[in-house]
Every structure is written in C-alpha cells, then in structure tokens.
C-alpha cells in the first residue's frame, strides 16, 4: 500500500513493556500510528503480538511505558481513550444469550450511539449478516460469529481499530469484503493496527510494518525501508515480506540463542 501523508497520530506508544512473573513478554516497544494509516504487526508465535494488542486496547495493564489514543493517556483517562478504539480478537467473544441485534443494541448503549439502528443495518448488510438479526451465537457458524464481532467493533465508528487475525474463519468473499472495509475505513481516517500471520495480507493492506520477536521490536517501517535495513546488514535488497520476515526472525532467534 502506498505511504500516506503527514497526519495526526491516533495511537502513540512509548517504551511499552509487560512482565508476567519472570517472563518479559513485551519489552520497550515504541511506535505511533497516524490517522488513515494501517500498521501491520507481525512476528513468530509467542512473539508478544497479542499481549501488545491487549495492552493497547486497555484490556491488560502494561508494566512499563505509556499508551495514548487520540492524545488521551490510556492509564490516566481510560474511558475517553477506549471510547475511540475497537479491539477485535482472533476468537470472537460473544454473549451466548444475546441475539445478533441485541449485541449491537448493547454496544450502542455502551458507546452512546443514537442512530444505531441505521448503522447496524448498514454494517449487517456489508458483512452479509442481514436476516440473522434474531439468531443466537450458538446458531451462527464460526465465520458468522467473527462477522458479528467485527460488526460490534465497527458500530461506534472507532478512530483506532486493532485486529488480531481478523480473517480467521471468513470465507473468500468475506475476506475480500473485510479487506475492502478496512481500506475504506483507513481512507476515512481511521488508524488500524493489524496483527496477522498472513503475510501477503499484511503486505497488501499495510502502510508500515512492525516486526516483533521475543517481545522486542526487530524492525519498523515500510517494506522498502525494512529491506534497506537488511541490505545494510549485508542481505539482498529484494524479496517479499515473507522473505524479509524469515530473514529477520531467523537472525533474531540466532542472536537470542547466542
């Protein structure tokens, strides 16, 4: 995706760290995401991606560092910061006793959306959930549950959207629509942080990429910038994100082993 022009930072992260007992899950991660920008978060399993996203969404408290959403510190003013963001986990977490429409109604009240019915209708249409308004989660397929989770996340028109493996369970048409929807939201000014193992998806959608491994930032920048860093490190300056990812994470794990 082509780089975007200067825009205000929607998300600012400085020195983020998270420690569980003796385990340092995330260490000194700093970056910013501007309005309209899509940042890809990639890394091997256990790299700390989900922990980072959970910290950014205010779900778990970070041990170190600061996070600001639309200029509001997530620790000092969590309510204002959370009002501007949406977090879509890889596994949809739904209330088994609420129907599709009731989920949207609940979210509407929590975020204070007066015209939620019109918005819900539009989003359900977009996500092909029209006709399922009265269905309980138990009656939905895995992909439909994922779509409902996405619909709940998009309903309040968040300025910052964080997605953890957003395409899990979606069919090819759903994947195409989801990608289109993310592009449109970015163009409308939303900042997006997308964590995925699907590197072609990241390459296709993201303006910049943050690679983390072992809880540490390994690289941050556009794909050409990261390639240039590798050239500086003695590697070839070509290849897809997959090639770059494998080279970076392999060298990172070698360094850690030493």
């Amino acid at each position: 995706m082509s780089p975007i022009g200067p825009a205000p930072a929607v998300l600012q992260v400085a020195g983020l760290g998270k420690v569980y007992g003796d385990l340092r899950a995330v260490s000194n991660v700093s970056f910013a995401v501007r309005a309209g920008e899509v940042l890809g978060l990639v890394g091997p399993n256990g790299a700390g991606k989900t922990t980072t996203l959970r910290c950014l969404a205010g779900i778990i408290p970070p041990t170190q560092g600061s996070i600001a959403v639309i200029g509001r510190d997530l620790r000092q003013d969590p309510v204002a910061a959370k009002r501007a963001l949406a977090f879509l986990p890889d596994e949809p977490k739904l209330f088994e006793y609420l129907t599709v429409q009731e989920h949207l109604n609940l979210i509407a009240r929590l975020y204070g959306i007066a015209d939620w019915r019109q918005r819900a209708e539009q989003i359900l249409l977009e996500l092909e959930l029209t006709g399922k308004e009265q269905a309980l989660p138990i009656e939905l397929s895995r992909g439909m549950k994922q779509k409902l989770s996405i619909a709940c996340g998009f309903l309040h028109d968040p300025q910052l959207i964080m997605l953890d493996e957003p395409l899990t369970g979606l069919d090819p048409l759903g994947i195409r629509r989801m990608k289109e929807s993310l592009r449109q939201r970015a163009e409308a000014g939303a900042a997006i942080v997308l964590s995925s193992h699907l590197l072609p998806l990241v390459e296709e959608l993201c303006h910049r990429i943050l690679v983390i491994a072992g809880g540490k930032m390994i690289a941050l920048g556009t794909l050409p910038e990261i390639r240039a860093q590798l050239v500086g490190a003695g590697a070839e300056g070509e290849g897809s994100l997959e090639d770059v990812f494998i080279r970076i994470t392999a060298s990172s794990s070698t360094t850690e082993t030493r």
Binding site: Y97, N105, L110, I138
Partner: protein, 573 residues
C-alpha cells in the same frame, strides 16, 4: 506395528493422571491453592474416609433383609435396561471427546479397536463409580467392602455394556430398515409383552404375598426369595442376579460362587457390543461437537442457552435506547441472561413451593405461620439468593476481555454488574415482606401490635436490599481477588481443591458479612435503644434506616475498592 486399544487407554489415563498430579502440585506452591486443597481433603476425610474401611465388623444390615436389597437392585437394573431399550437414543452414541475424534478416528485403527478403546475407558470409569458407591453403601451391605467394590464394578460395567449394546442394536435395526419408523413401537410391544407375561405369571403364582398385617422384614424377604426362585422367572433374572449377588456377597465362598456367572454375563455382553456392525462414528462426532458446545456455553455462563429450544425467543425486559447511562446496558444484558437462563427458575420454584405451603397453611387458618414463613423466606433470599442469581461478574468472568475494553470506569462496571441480581432479589424480598405484613395485620404476631408489625416490615424493606447488595459485593470481590477459583467450565473443576475453595469461600463470605454487618448493627441498635421510649414503633424504622445507610456507605467504599481492582485486573493471569 499395530495399535492396541488397551495401551492407548493406559497411556492416556496414566499420563493424564501424572500430568494432573504434577500440575496440582505446581499449583499448590501458591498458598491459596495449597490451603484450598488442604480444606478439601480435610472435608473429604471427615465426611467419608474417616468412616470407610475395607474390612471390619459384620454388616449392619440384618441378613434377612438382604433378599429385599437384592430384589430392589434387580428392579432398578430392570428399569434401567428397559429405559435404555424403550427411550434410548435413536442413534448409536458412544461418547468420544473432541481430541479423541480428532486423533483416534483417522488413526490406523479398526472400528472394533475404537470400540475396545471406548469400552476400556468405560471399564475404568465404572471402577470409579464402584469405589464411590462403596464409600456410601459398601459397609452397610457387606461384611467385606472389597467384595462390594469388585462386585459392583463388574455389575456396573455389565449394565454399561448392555446400554451400549442396546444403543448399537437399535442403530443397526434403523440402518438395516427392518423396523423403519415403527422401530420404537416394535421395541415397546416386545417389552410390554415380556412385562405382561411376567405380570400374569406373578399373579398366578401359587403362593400369594403375605397379608399386609404380616409384613415383617422376615416374611416379605421369604416371599421375595420364593418368587425369585420360581422358574421361568429365575431364568430371566439370572443374568442380572448373578452380577448383583457378586456385590452383595457376604463371604469368600458366596463371592467365588457368583464370580463365574458374573464374569460370563459381562464377557457375553462385551462380545455382543464388539461384534455389532452398527456405525457409531457419525453420531460420536456429533456428540463430541455437542459436548464442545456445552463446554463453550459453560464458559460463557449459559448452560441454559443450550437446553433452550433453538428459535425460541423471549422479549427483553425493556427496550434499550442507544443513548443514556451506559451502566444500564450491562443491567439490561444481565436481566436478559437471567430470564433466558435457568437460574431464575430455581428461585421461582422455591417461591412457588413457598406459595403452595402458604396456601395449605391459610386453608388451615394459620396466618401466623404464613406470615413468619414469608419473613423466613425473605431472610433466605437475602443470604442465599446471590448463590442462585449469578448474573454479575461471576457469570461474566469469561467475558472479562470485553468488559475491560469498554469505555467505562471500573467502579461503574462493578456497580452495573451488581444491579441485575441485586434489584431482582430486592424485589422478591419486598414482595415477601409485604406478604408477611398483609397477614400479620389481620392476625398480629403475638406480642406485636399492627403498628409494630408495619414498622418492622418497613425497616426490613430498607435493610434487606442493602444487605443483599453487600452480599453480592463480597461474592463479586472474590471474582476479582481469586479469579482462578471461579469455575467457568466443567473441565476446569479440580476435585478436592475446588471443594476446598468453595468451603473456604463460603466461610470467608460469612465472616466478612458478619464483620460488615457489625457497624450497621451497632449503629441501628443504639439508635433503637435511644428512640424506643419516645418514638415507639417508629424507632424500628429509623434504626433500620440508619443501619441501611451504614451498609450503603460500606457498599460505596466497597465499590470504590472493587472498581480499582477491576481497573488493575489482568485478564491474562
């Protein structure tokens, strides 16, 4: 190399046990798990094992009563077997877990090997049931509990095999289309014919039952023994009796005499099940998925959602507008959960039973009992109602990730979570107090004038809801302080430790309630003593009001503390 089902069962069982013990020992390094385990084991020892013994004094049951026990067990077995044939599942369901379906079904194993694997697991499972049964009944029924354990193990396994065989046979009949849609009628007709023949034969026996006047244990035992010894009944009952006689053997001689018969019946059943050609795989896969959904529903705190017929919808308690105080959204959500789940039914059943008893009492013109009964019920709801209605953080523990991401402060989330059960229970308490008052005004409680009754009722209407909310607050505090103690799915339960956790939680909850109520009690009591002379019955209302105000202050500070705990709550720990 060929896979051996028994080896797989042994591998899974032993490794599962080893890992579970290892995990348990690791957990016990933390004091909260250690003390819970100690409490659970102490309770178990005190209640069961302290009294259990494998050998010792002769059984307490008189020998002449044994034929009656045997007849009762035979009757239970017949009812169980009949139920399996008449009302059993239409599909061949031998339950497998999802991992078993995933790893064993595609493995190079024959169908018979899968069945052997499942049956070997059942064999181990019935040993557990036999051990537990022996703790309850063994020492009362036999002189040597070991006979009971071995005998009931073989008997239970035989019945389990029969149930599996019946299910497979029914499935085979359906597959082969011999009975088609009328299979149930055919099975029922055969079963009814057998029962009819037996009944006719029993009516025609030459020796009728002794008259009711002579119904001593000895006489009835003699008659039952005689009836069961008559042919052809004795032939029909032999396969069942030889297994049960094993469990009831009083000495080695009786046990060894019954053993060949019991083993032969079990062996024949095993051969019957293994030789079945009915396909069970599809139903097993379906059952595994259903079980996985059940676990998911447990995790979401909604067991009722699965038992509810799909497509059946109920109205929401009220229409939720898109704007307004966001806490109301959580109240609305929890009320929906309450009325779509099962928990409110327990409360309704209790109240309906109470109303039934009240109606009987009223018919007997005992208004006083009704009035006192309502009061007692109101106290019961205050103390134990929060255990029945759990639509708060206890239910939402598995949804903490959602709650933590909401644009609401911790204090507001905790308050919103307490509202649904708190308001529902307060409403029930108010109704019970009004009911009590209505009948005490007509026929006052001795020693209390109607104004005094009215004052007490008003006082309780102020006091009990405050106590209920405080009780709920303490139970929700446990969720935020000890989240790992809250079972959110059936697989998370860990035997003795969970039992210990519940005992400790109950004890801590009661102690904290006492401590929390103390300042309110002292303040209210002192005011009552001061005002009693001048204000009369009104003193009770004012004292209760003051006590309720103290409780509300405590509730406020409790909310502040829990709100901070919620804000710091780490869902990943």
């Amino acid at each position: 190399m060929t896979l051996k089902p028994l080896e797989i069962t042994g591998f899974l069982f032993l490794n599962g046990l080893k890992n579970r013990v290892r995990r348990q020992l690791q957990r016990m390094r933390q004091p909260k798990h250690f003390f819970a385990m100690v409490a659970g084991l102490s309770y178990l020892w005190w209640i069961f094992f302290r009294r259990a013994q494998l050998s010792g004094p002769p059984s307490r049951l008189p020998a002449k009563a044994l034929p009656l026990v045997e007849a009762a067990l035979v009757a239970f077995a017949i009812i169980g077997i009949g139920g399996t044939w008449l009302f059993g599942s239409a599909k061949a369901t031998l339950s497998f877990t999802e991992p078993e379906v995933q790893f064993l079904f595609p493995a190079p194993m024959t169908r018979a090997m899968l069945l052997q694997y499942r049956l070997s697991k059942l064999f181990l499972g019935t040993l557990g049931t036999a051990l537990i049964s022996s703790l309850f009944f063994g020492r009362f029924l036999t002189a040597h509990a070991l006979f009971f354990i071995l005998g009931s193990w073989i008997a239970l396994f035989t019945i389990t095999l029969h149930s599996a065989g019946a299910t497979l046979t029914r499935a085979s009949l359906i597959e082969n289309g011999r009975f088609g849609l009328k299979r149930r009628w055919g099975t029922m007709a055969v079963a009814l014919a057998v029962i009819g023949l037996l009944a006719t034969w029993v009516v025609r026996v030459r020796q009728p039952a002794p008259p009711i006047a002579d119904w001593s244990v000895a006489n009835v035992s003699l008659w039952v023994t005689w009836v069961m010894a008559q042919r052809p009944l004795s032939w029909i009952l032999w396969p069942i009796r030889c297994s049960i006689q094993l469990a009831l053997a009083q000495d080695w001689g009786a046990f060894l005499r019954a053993l060949p018969g019991g083993l032969a019946v079990a062996g024949l059943h095993y051969a019957w099940v293994i030789s079945s050609h009915a396909s069970f795989e599809e139903a097993a896969v379906e059952a595994a998925e259903r079980r996985a959904r059940l676990v998911d529903a447990w995790r979401s705190g909604q067991r009722g959602a699965l038992t509810r017929r799909l497509g059946r919808r109920k109205r929401t308690p009220f229409a939720l507008a898109g704007t307004g105080r966001p806490e109301v959204a959580l109240l609305w959500k929890n009320l929906v959960a309450m009325f779509r789940g099962e928990s409110h039914r327990a409360l309704l059943v209790t109240l309906v039973l109470g109303a039934g008893i009240a109606a009987i009492l009223l018919k007997q013109r005992v208004e006083l009992l009704f009035s006192l009964g309502c009061l007692l019920m109101a106290f019961f709801v205050t103390l134990l109602g929060p255990d029945i209605l759990r639509q708060d953080l206890r239910q939402d523990l598995s949804h903490m990730e959602i709650l933590r991401s909401l644009p609401l402060s911790g204090r507001r989330v905790v308050l919103a979570e307490l509202l649904a059960p708190g308001l529902a229970l307060s409403g029930v308490e108010a109704l019970l107090i009004i009911g009590s008052l209505a009948f005490s005004l007509d026929k006052p409680i001795p020693g209390l004038s109607p104004p005094a009754c009215l004052a007490i009722a008003l006082g309780l209407v102020l006091l009990l809801p405050a106590l209920t909310f405080l009780n709920l607050l303490l139970r929700n505090a446990a969720v935020l302080l000890f989240p790992s103690w809250m079972a959110v799915d059936p697989h998370q339960t860990r035997g003795f430790e969970v039992m210990g956790q519940r005992l400790l939680t109950l004890a801590a909850n009661l102690m904290l309630m006492l401590v929390a109520v103390l300042p309110a009690g002292i303040a209210g009591g002192l005011l009552f003593l001061v005002l009693w002379g001048s204000a009369g019955a009104l003193a009770a209302v004012l004292a209760s009001g003051l006590a309720a105000a103290v409780l509300l202050v405590e509730l406020y500070f409790g909310l502040v503390v829990l709100g901070k705990l919620f804000d710091r709550f780490d869902v990943s720990v």
